[in-house]
Amino acid sequence: MTTHGIGAAVLRKEDERFLHGRGQYVADFRLAGMQEVAFVRSPVAHARLRAVHVPDRFRDVVFTAKDLVGVKPIVSSPPLKGFKHSSQPILATGKVRYVGELVAMCLAPSRAQAEDIAGEISLDFEELPAVTDMLAALAPGAPLVHEEWGDNVFVEFSEGGAIDEIAKSAAIKVTREIRTSRHCMFPMEGRGIVAYRDARLGHLTLITSTQFPHCVQTGLCECLGLEDAAVRVISPDVGGGFGYKGLLCREEVALGWLALRLRHPVRWLEDCREHLSANANCREHHYNITGYAARDGKLLAIDCVGYVDAGAYSDYPISSAPEAAQIANLLPGPYDFPAYRCRSAAVATNKCPIIPYRGVARSGICLAIEVVMDAIARATGREPYEVRLRNLVGPERMPFDNVVGKHFDSGDHPECLRRAVAAIRLSEIRARQQHPEPDGRLIGVGLSFFVEQGAHGTSVLASWGRPIVPGYEQANVRLTVDGDIEIRVGTHSHGQGHETTFAQVANEILGVEFDRIKVLQGDTLYTPYSTATWGSRSMVMGGGAVARASRMLAARAARIGAWLLQADAADARVSGGRVEAGNGSVTLREVARAWYLQPQNLPPDVDTGGLEVTAGYRAERDSGTFSYAAHAAVVALDPRSGLVEILDYVVVEDGGVLVNPMIVDGQVCGGTAQGIGTCLYEAMPFDAQGQPLASTLMDYMLPGATEVPDIRVLHMQTPSPYTEFGIKGLGEGGAVGPPAAIVSAVNDALRALRAEVHDLPLTPERILAAIEAAREQTGNG
């Protein structure tokens, strides 16, 4: 290992500019003559739009669907059997299907003036009954979001098979109904777009805050009828994405169209209300899950029906399928059991689309299966961790294919759980629970365990049905005249620190000084095409590509270096930024000088590809890496107010070989903070008419610094057998474990009161209502 290579906790290159306030986000681009856009959005959830009235004086600065001649709607239809496609107009026409849907675009020198104009536009519509709940949407006679479908189901999935025999003979049967709230993703930086025509390069250029510039380019071309050579997408510094910036926005198409018409740049910056109430939500699931077990806690079967409230449209390119698909095929989690049956469906409602948020469906799935594990523990009178241990897969069985064929690549799951139990000091908590707390609060301890499939490859994604399936991730690595390394990647860091970690990979292989390695990303003009950054894939896939390209570059440099050293090329190798052969060595800078400036010194059989390599990479086996983690939480619950405080939180995590453990800790802690939000705070409620009820941060509650405890992160590092350096994807896991661990802890605290809660978020009101209900039941019983 070099001092800045794989495994070094080096400080992040990008933080120099971030910490000095010199990051460059979309809103930092102020182009000459730029005008601002404000959108008129649908005020109702479901209506037939009869007319949009634009006062004559605004004719030239207001645009509606009528103006967007030739612009295609966003259609995101995975090639899955039975998938019903939705056609999402850029500006509404015919029907509006959720509050916040774009209806008209208003242009003015300032945003305030554009909003003034928006206020003058009136809509003539005939309101239709809205369907705002996924279960109600399934009922016969429910209003239809898309009439031509005949029902409200985007797509259904089914996994597993017969469980009846096992179910009949099982000693223990537990059933729970669980609902997770719809919530918002809330990156620090909202979306934002600057669009203009670049006459010199012949581009429509979009500067947009996105996780995947190339997918936006492809989608934009489809909607606007352009070739990709005519479109450039720049994604500068991105202040968080979490999935929210993993789709083609209608605003991107609208501004692209507008920029092509005009001679000046245009800009739209999403505001907080638009983020909260209009663009995309996440996480809303409903589970009806039954677990069958033997008296010793051995899990025998899982039977589940799960629904995703997918909102009105299928977003591009993710589509509305993967969340429901994951419920069906990731629900078994880490556990080994013989019989499984799960049906899931993505249900359309008159709400904005659901898109994958960090962890996608897995925070809900993890909650569902872990609630069952806790219920089995109660029913069998065992410690919850013992029931989990009983059902985990031991290291001697790795690699392991679970009940639905998920291939766990490596690891020691039981050891991970044991370390979490020790770190949270379970026996001390159990002793503490024997005595009442002086402040009257109840103490609870809870656990969750999960596997995190990351870096899903071609075969997995093709089966989940994405319109854009990732293949070989590419990286371009270049030795410059001065002996520096430039890396160009199509993945795009939106907080992950790729400028640092990809440089660490190149440093590991080439030994060029860390400070002389630069990572370039976020521009379709100079980076390889990529499905970019999502799904815990960039370090495995992008890092793998950087490694491969670096090695190829090293081989080319070694040949030139050997010639300069008058040594045999077979003896030459690159190390520490030099080509070494025998006792001699030359620097890579000298090699670069020879190639670029003194070609008379090159060997006659030099690789004419030069000192720049683009290489593609895919893991040896592309079924995904399987990180895993145990989360453990201690809570104090006030049975008078219903408030929950997290007293201690431990994460024991195995993300394979860690490229930069400091960055990993940051990702785990950041994800855990979001998971705490999912569990205790975040909810976007809707009223019966489909109005979103939390349109400001006064109503939409995010965890803050005081709500997130010091998270103790412990690592195990089991290399993946299939990837470069044994790296595994781990960016999402932090957000997956907390809801299950905290719900488990809260229910542990409530045990004495015989109350149980499962619906998220765990508001004080829900907890008190559960206590109230348990009291009534005890009273009546």
Binding site: A112, D271, D638, R640, M701
Partner: protein
């Protein structure tokens, strides 16, 4: 989320401000720290033609201290109260309440008078000042008047201010040295508006024993003679009596009643009233 155009007037004196308010007949809104009005303007929930900025009026940042009461100008910020930048003998309750209002950035700009005039039922000053028996000193285009806080706040986001009137100062009676004070609010997270507030001032020497239940849907519920909320033995809180107070205040939901009770019980305990 940018405000509609408005005219900004910076009033230099109280009489200038009240004159504008009277003449514009509701087309003007008073602005001080803008911590509530600012977001409302940005969301275009309010679109006044004129904003009257009163932060330059000297009288409104004045304080007065006498034996009976502390008088705070309406434009004194919550941060100044938190930091104890008040004259005379400290009135301990105030910095303690101030320190837990929203976040420091909000406290730096938000004013005590602005909070009362906005009259959000969940605002701390509404409940705390009511429990302390404070009075609002109101300047008017024609005459000045005084109103107890519980009369000043008439409902959720509603006050007794008439056109042309401006809240000038808040007069807080000084509790006796042996007075007991308890204040507790329940929030889902630090800095959020409370969902239940309890406040107790037990000042027998001054013949005052007040209990307030705040963060309701309207103005705070006030027991001006909290002796009736004591248990028979005179020390503990009579929960049944509190529940009756809540019921009279129209709070029927069982879960909400439990939460108000929890807040009140904590405040009662803090006051250690006997």
């Amino acid at each position: 989320m940018k405000p509609a155009a408005f005219e900004l007037v910076r009033a230099g004196t109280l009489s200038e401000a009240t004159k504008i308010l009277l003449e514009t007949q509701g087309a003007a809104r008073v602005v001080a720290g803008a911590q509530s009005l600012g977001p409302m303007l940005n969301l275009r929930l309010v679109q006044p033609r004129i904003l009257v900025d009163i932060t330059g009026i000297a009288e409104l940042t004045e304080t007065a201290d006498d034996a009976d009461a502390l008088t705070l100008g309406a434009c004194i910020t919550t941060a100044n109260i938190e930091d104890g930048h008040l004259p005379g003998r400290a009135l301990q309750a105030l910095p303690a309440v101030a320190a837990r209002i929203a976040y420091r950035a909000v406290r730096n700009r938000g004013t005590i008078g602005g909070s009362l005039c906005h009259a959000d039922p969940a605002a701390d000053w509404v409940s705390a000042l009511c429990a302390l028996g404070a009075e609002c000193v109101i300047a008017g285009a024609h005459a000045a008047r005084r109103l107890a806080v519980e009369q000043f706040v008439t409902g959720a986001f509603e006050t007794a201010l008439a056109p042309g009137e401006l809240l000038q100062a808040i007069r807080i009676p000084r509790p006796s040295p042996r007075a007991r004070w308890g204040y507790h609010k329940l929030c889902r997270k630090a800095g959020e508006f409370a969902f239940a507030i309890g406040a107790v001032l037990d000042d027998r020497e001054r013949g005052s024993f007040r209990l307030v239940i705040g963060a309701t849907r309207g103005r705070p519920l006030l027991a001006t003679d909290a002796r009736e909320l004591r248990e028979g033995d005179g020390r503990g809180l009579n929960e049944a009596a509190v529940l009756r107070l809540l019921e009279r205040g129209g709070i029927g939901d069982a879960v909400a009643r439990r939460q108000y009770l929890a807040a009140v019980a904590r405040a009662w305990g803090e006051a250690g009233t006997a």
